[in-house]
Amino acid sequence: MRECRLRPISTPPLALPIFVLWRYPRTIAKHQLRERVLSPRSPSPVFVLEGGRSGGGESSSGSMSTVSKGPAVAVEAEEAEEDAVEKDYVGLSEESCSCYPDGKGDDGGAEDEDEEELELGLSLGAKKVTGGGGKQGGAPWREYCRILTAEDFPSMVSRAPPLSSSSSVSSSATLVRGGTTGGAASRRVAVSGSPDAGGSTNPPPSTQMVVGWPPIRAYRMNNIINQSKDNTSSNAIVTMTPKETNESSKNITKEVIAKELEKKGGLAGNSLFVKVNMDGDPIGRKVDLNAHWSYETLAAALEAMFDKPTSALGASICGSRTSKLDDGSPEFSLTYEDKDGDWMLVGDVPWGMFLSTVKRLRIMRTSDTNGGLAPRLHSSKSSGGLRNVP
C-alpha cells in the first residue's frame, strides 16, 4: 500500500457543510476501505477512491453509520466533519498524486486503476509540478500535497476570479458567497461557460466530479468540455501571473503556456480524453490525459487499463527507467497521432507540447514500429483546439 503523508491542514475559515451534503453517501467496497480509508477524525486525509467518493469509516458498519447520520452532519456542520471533508477534498487530489509511482514503481498497478475510474476529469490541482518533460521522480508529488494545504487557501481565495486555482478552495469560496446549504450545494466549478458566454468566462478551476454524474452521455461531456477549452486557453494567457510559471521568459507558444498553466493548478479540471487503441484489442478505451502529468504516469495507467503483462510500456517510453514490470524488451510501443495526422513515438517532446498536439494514442506492436516512426519535434501551434477529442 502506498503511503502518502500530508501535512495536516488546519480547518480553513470556510463553511463546508455543503461538501458534506454533497459527499454523502459515498460507499466504498470494504476491501478498498481496508486499504485506504482512515477515520474522518484522524489527522490524515481521507483518500477518495472511485469516482470521487469517500467513505467515513473502516468497516461497513462504520460507513453505514456515517451514511445514516449524513444529513444530520450536514446540518450541524461539525468541525470534524468539515475537517474530514476538507481532507476529502485534499484527499481527492491526493488520490491523483498518490497513485503515481514516483520512480519507485512498486505496486502502482491497483492504484493506477483508480485513475481510470476518475474519468470525468478528476484532474485537480495536481498539475503544478512538472515544468518540462515530466520525467521526474518522487519529490514532485509532495508539492501537490502542499498546494492544497491551508496555507495556500487564503492566497487561492484571494485570486479566485478569474484565474481560480485548484478545485476545492475556489469552489468553496464560491459556495460561501453562494450562501445557502441545500440549494447551492457544491458548485463544481470546472468547465467554464459555453463559447458564447463571452470573454468573461472564468477559466475553470477544477472540481470533484462524480463518475457518471450528471447523467449525460460521455461523448457529449467531452464536447462540452472541449468547446469551452478553446475559450479558456485563450483566456488563460491573459490572466497568467509571472509567478505561476518558471519559464515566463521563454518564448513558448500560447498553447503550451496554457497547458503549463493547467499543470500549475490554474486550469486543472479540464478533461482531455483521447482514444487509446491497442493492437489486437477491438475495444478502444479512453484516457484523460489531463489526469496525468508525466509520461510515466500515463504509461502506468495505460498498462493497467489494458492489462497485458508483456507490454512494459513504461520501459519503452522511459528508456532505462523501468516500470513495475520486469520485461526486458517491450513487446508494445506507445504511439500517438498528432494534429497533422502523423504517428509519433510517445516520449520525445515535453509533456506540455505532447498534450497540445496529441489527438489519439495507439499501442502498437513493436515490430510494426521498427524503422517506421522517426520521432520528430513538432512545433505545435494552437489551432483553435480540438472540437471533439473523443
Binding site: S68, V210, P214, N223
Partner: protein, 580 residues
Amino acid sequence: MPAGGGWAAMFPDEVWEHVFSFLAADGDRNAVSLVCRGWYHIERRSRRRIFVGNCYAIAPTVAVRRFPNVRVVSIKGKPHFADFNLVPSDWGGHADAWVAAMAEGWPLLEELHLKRMVVTDECLELLARSFKNFRVLALSFCEGVSTAGLAAIAANCRNLRELDLQETVVEENCVHWLSHFPESSTSLVNLSIASLEEDVNIAVLEHLVSRCTNLKTLKLNYAVPLDRLVNLLCRAPQLANLGTGRFTAEYRPELFSKLESAFASCKSMKSLSGICEAVPEYLPAIYPICDGLTSLNLCDAPVNGASLTKLVSRCKNLQRLWVMDVIEDDGLAAVASSCKLLQELRVFPCDPYGADPVSLTEHGLVTVSTGCPMLQSVLYFCRQMTNDALFAVARSSPNLTCFRLCIIDPHTPDYVTLEPLDAGFSAIVESCKDLRRLSVSGLLTNNVFRSIGASADCLEMLSIAFAGDSDAGLHYILSGCKSLRKLEIRDCPFGDKALLANAAKLETMRSLWMSSCFVSLGACRLLAQKMPLLNVEVMDEKKRGGSWDSQPDDCLVEKLYVYRTVAGQRSDTPPCVWTV
C-alpha cells in the same frame, strides 16, 4: 370447440398464420404461443420480428432455432448506465455470437437493430456476406466498428435502405468507405452518420445523395461544412429528416441566402438535428422550414437564448424539442406559448459544472407543462426544484409517460422550503397514471419510494441516484411497482435485506443495476443460489485476475447487475466481472 386441443386443427395452419399476422405486439404473440402446442409452432414459424431486450437473456442459437423465419431483429446489450461510464468498458455485449447464429439460421434477414453492443468489423463483414436481402442496419450507442466494416456493408448489401449509426463510435480505418457504395446503388432511404468523427469525402457523398432519389433521412457529421450542406440540400429537396453538420462559418451574405433558399426548397422537412456549434447569424436560414417541423434537436447548438427562442417560436407544429438549457426560462415560456402540440421536451445542460449558471429554473418546466397539454415525455436538467413546481407539473400534465428530472447537484432539496422532494415526486406518480419511465433526483427519503411502489402501476423503468435513507426504500419499490422491468440504482443506501426479501420479483424484471450501494457479496451469493434463473454479476474494476471465490461474504459489492436469463452463465465475462 372440440375437446383436447384438437380445435387448432380446425383450420389449416395458413389461416392461423394469417390471423396471427394481425398481432403486432410481442406480448400478444407470446400469449398466443402459450395456448397450445399447435399454436406455439404456428406462431413461432410465422414470427417475423423479435426483440431481445438483453442479449444475454437467451442464447443466440436457441432464438434462431425457435423462430426460423425472422426478418427483423432488435437486440440490446449493455445496461443503460454504460452511457455514463459506470459499466466496465470490457463488460461484454458482443454481437459476434448473435451475428454468427443469425448468419446460419436466418439467411433472409432484412433488418438488424443493435443497441449498446460491441460490434466488430468482422461482424459487419459476415453480415454483408450472409444476408442477400439485407436492408436496414441500425447501430445505436454501439462501439467497436470502424469504417472498414462500413465499407463492407456499403459494397455488398445491394439493397441497403438504411444505414443508421446513431451515437455509435466508429473508428477510422478506411477513408473512402463511402466510395464503396456501387454506382448502381440507389436504394438508400436513410443515411445517418452523425457520430462519425472523421471526414467523409463530400464529393462522393453528394453523388450518392443525388442518385438516391428516395433518400428521406440524411444525418451528416461535424466534418461537413455549411457551404457543402447547401449543395447536398439542393440535391435532395425531398428530405424529411435532416441532420446538419457544423452550422458555423463566417457570416457571408451570399452563403446565407443560398442556405436559406436551399432550406426553402425542402418542402417535406419534418425533423432537423445537428446544427453543431451554430452561430446566431445563420439560424434564420432555417426559418423557411420551421412551420413544417415536428422534431427539432438543438442539443449541439449552445447559442444564446434569444436566438433559440426566435427560432423555436416559429415552429408551431413542433412535437419534439431537444434543446440546451441556454434557452432559459424565457425561451421555454416562448415554447409553451408557440408549440401547443409539443409532446416531448428534453433540456440538456450546456455547462454542468459551470460557474455561471444559466437562468433555467423549475419555472421553465412548469410553464411548458401548463402551456403544452399534449406533453408526454420530459427530460429536464436543472439546478433547483421545488415541490410546488412538481405539484404543478403533476396537475397540468397527467398524461406523462416519461418523466426524468435531473437536478445537477445530488441531494438538492426544495430550495424554498428546504424539504426533500418526496411530496413532489409522489404527486407525479399519483397523478400520472400512465407513467412508464421515471428518473428521480434531488434530496429524497424513503417516503417517495413508498409512493412510487404504491402508485406507479405502469412504471417500467426507474432510475434512482443519491436517494433514500435505508433498505426500506428499495423494499417499497420491489414489492410494489407491478410492471417494473428495469431498475437502476446508484449511490443509495440500499442493502441486502430488501434485495433478498424480493428475490422473486427480480425474475419478473428484465434487469437490476445497483452500484455504490450497500450490497454485500454474501447476499449476492445467496441470491444466485436461491434464483437459478437469474445471472448475478458483480463487478469491480480493480479485480483483474484476482479470485472472487476467496472474498469474504461481508465485502461490499461495488457494482451489481442482475438479470433474468434462460441461457445460464455467460462465457464471455471479463476478469472484472464475476457471475456469482
